[in-house]
Symmetry: C2
Subunit: 457 residues, 2 copies
């Protein structure tokens, strides 16, 4: 297969997976520094990545996507192809040729990176990543980092809501066909796995990330055969106790009766339409009365956290939920307003005061405070040089130093384990399905003073 | 750079960019055919891809994504890596080893494909693609095709609404940072370009697809310098008449006055916050009074079709709109309910009658009927063997025959040209921003009879 069309983005061009203005700004920084003999060490910027506000009805968010960002920072390069593309752009005609001949070919990200742990919960206005380094480097990463963190965080946060209501039921991510591009399907599988999902239908997430993928049959499998029972026989003959039979193509309860001849030798049945509470109760009864008491019931069909909550409150005997569209698009609110803002340049704190778009200046740390029962109480945003509050946990952890990874990134199973243990500390009130809390983030007095002094300067 | 992590999906694994059930079904078809000595030519399926219902407030949709689907169908293969992954899956233990040793290594899609022209408008329940071929082939493509067509169609449809209200204003797609994965950013750029956008900020869309990318500066560029004017001077010195200066970092009108010293030597100013109507009027006045009458005004800041309509109704002197988040996520409704359903198997029409999920059986064509003024009147869904209605246009065009492309795919500029000319034929009523029409799709009497006979059988 030639060319990059399958995924468009590959090892040869990923550095250009960005907005063009990062490159016009970058080239301008290069030219300005060249003209004014400014060295990289005297051109150090610090950016915060934070979320301005919740998507609708959220009281917390789950951080995800760091591993893909780190991979990009370690590996992205200006290849010959990308450099020749840029060199030909008319807009760059006044940029010194050394930019294309020397600087870009040798370019590697040399950034210091602090980040929250993937799977941690957080709140608006908290820096979830802090990026420091030469201006060109720190600026160029903006779009890619925002893209990856915004989407994976959006989906991990949505998945966490579903996990909260589904508790110990099995949860499967089924959203690839409605996710926004094949790659979004992989990201959705990863992000929902972090927030406690058990598996996915996405096979790339399995071969590339090791998330168990599964799935059995569509209605087309049933329809291909002359009658429904023949399709079940064919399938069961091949897949035996791995079989999950789809029973709603014609008449759900009739199909449940038919397949009871398999007794407990199949794994599950799946119901994909109609009133899932009513069907699952009837099907459970049929299965139990016919020696299929170990056969599980899997439900799907435009499920989300609200529907699953209602289904379980009505005591539907469903063992596993396949959640697709609503999860992989975060359908009730498909965007997180993540932004990437300059907060320090050459050791001087910076502030942006555009209308309604204030940013917190200076290099900061977030400290998490717990009550005496070990439950989350609040976070405090403080300047880096302030004394550490007692009984607190610093949330931003050093990840890279001058482009080198300085911590071991946890594997996905450990991220999930951390998520599951950590989310226990979050009070139930914040896990409700509507926004009901003010942001539990305090701002230190020092930081408030800095904001006032910068606004007045 | 090693491995596939940048994009996860690449030429070596794209065949597995799918839901796992396509593979369990596929392997079951293989085994069943082997056991029963069924040849490929006696195992021919036909699937329709159609949209069940509109996203909110739509009266039509725009078809997009075909080129990426064709590329996949021409090029996707089971590589050694993917075959070894599948061979090790416990679930496939009863599948004959010839599947992994012979069938998969030699596999190439041998499908007949009919599709609408990219950029055409269409309505729910119309097959926008029809796929025919050996069951294994036709089934395996389901997830990938749905994913690509669903998303690009979603975005082209959203972009079309924005184009309708913005008319001849310049439209730029700025959504990459909020799109759902880096690849979604590229798709969003492509789909919005099809529906009449002028350009994008996404650089991959430029290097890989030739869509003009542009962009100038973020607030960080302003903040990096000691004062705002210095940043404008530095930028203008390098980019001259390509400069678009961002003027809302501190005080929009003060900045407009400052930059008027450049007279008409810069291209534009950009306003990214606050009341865009009020600011643009004030800024236009300042520019005009200070010899900058040729300097354009670009506006951005969470724009969508509703806001642009309002802004233009208030006569804001804005020349270009940058549209990001709301477009690239189709924020008001981020999903299209595209489905892929078996409608014929071995020349026998098939129907699915799960509750609320009826499908139209049999191989069909859509005919578009125009009134005497050449304006769209209605579409008629008919069985393939029915006589062609007079003065009608068949919308499904043969694209591939047994895996070979049999038509020349238009380039992006020609797709956009077709879109612009074709959408003129759609009555203005259907272009309003709320759903106000019943689906203008008629069903032929023959097709109705077939549905009745299959339901009763």
């Amino acid at each position: 297969m030639e060319g990059p069309k399958s995924g468009f983005i590959n090892d040869q061009n990923v550095i250009l997976s960005t907005d063009f203005y990062e490159l016009t700004m970058g080239a301008a920084y290069y030219q300005y520094n060249l003209d004014n003999n400014i060295k990289e060490k005297d051109d150090i910027a610090v950016f915060d990545l934070f979320i301005r506000k919740y998507p609708k009805n959220r009281n917390y968010l789950i951080f995800a996507g760091l591993e893909q960002v780190i991979h990009y920072l370690q590996n992205a390069r200006f290849t010959e192809k990308t450099i020749e593309f840029l060199r030909k752009k008319e807009v760059f005609k006044k940029i010194d040729s050394s930019f294309f001949d020397d600087y870009l070919p040798k370019f590697k990200f040399k950034l210091d990176v602090w980040a929250m742990r993937e799977g941690n919960y957080f709140f608006p206005n908290e820096p979830i990543m802090k990026i420091q380094g030469p201006m060109f480097h720190a600026q160029l990463t903006e779009t890619y980092i925002l893209n990856v963190i915004n989407y994976q965080t959006l989906i991990a946060s949505k998945a966490s809501r579903i996990k909260n209501v589904a508790q110990n039921k099995t949860l499967l991510e089924f959203g690839t066909r409605r996710s926004h591009s094949p790659l979004a399907g992989v990201y959705a599988a990863r992000a929902s796995y972090i927030a406690g999902f058990n598996g996915t239908s996405n096979v790339i997430a399995d071969i590339e990330l090791g998330i168990d993928s599964s799935g059995t049959m569509a209605h087309s499998f049933i329809q291909r055969f002359d009658n429904e029972m023949e399709s079940f026989d064919v399938y069961n003959n091949i897949y035996g106790d791995n079989s999950i039979l789809l029973i709603d193509t014609y008449d759900t309860e009739k199909a449940a009766k038919k397949i009871s001849k398999f007794k407990n030798s199949i794994k599950a049945v799946r119901i994909d339409s109609g009133d899932l509470v009513d069907h699952s109760k009837k099907v459970r009864k049929i299965l139990d009365e016919n020696g299929c008491e170990k056969v599980l019931i899997v439900a799907s069909s435009d499920l989300n956290e609200y529907k699953i909550k209602e289904i379980l409150e009505k005591n539907a005997p469903i063992d596993a939920f396949g959640v697709g569209t609503e999860l992989a698009t975060s359908r009730d609110d498909p965007t997180i307003a993540g932004v990437y803002k300059l907060i320090e340049y050459n050791r001087k704190p910076k502030i942006k005061i555009s209308e309604d778009k204030l940013t917190y200046p200076g290099k900061k740390q977030i400290y998490r405070i717990y009550n005496t029962q070990g439950e989350f109480k609040e976070d405090i945003l403080m300047l880096d040089n302030e004394p550490v509050p007692s009984n607190s946990e610093a949330l931003l952890i050093p990840v890279m130093k001058e482009g080198i990874l300085i911590t071991e990134l946890p594997d996905l199973n450990n991220i999930q384990k951390y998520y599951i243990e950590n989310i226990e500390k979050l009070p139930n009130k914040l896990k409700e399905l509507k926004e009901n809390q003010k942001n539990p983030l305090a701002i230190s007095e020092e930081l408030k003073r800095l904001i006032t002094s910068l606004k007045n300067s």
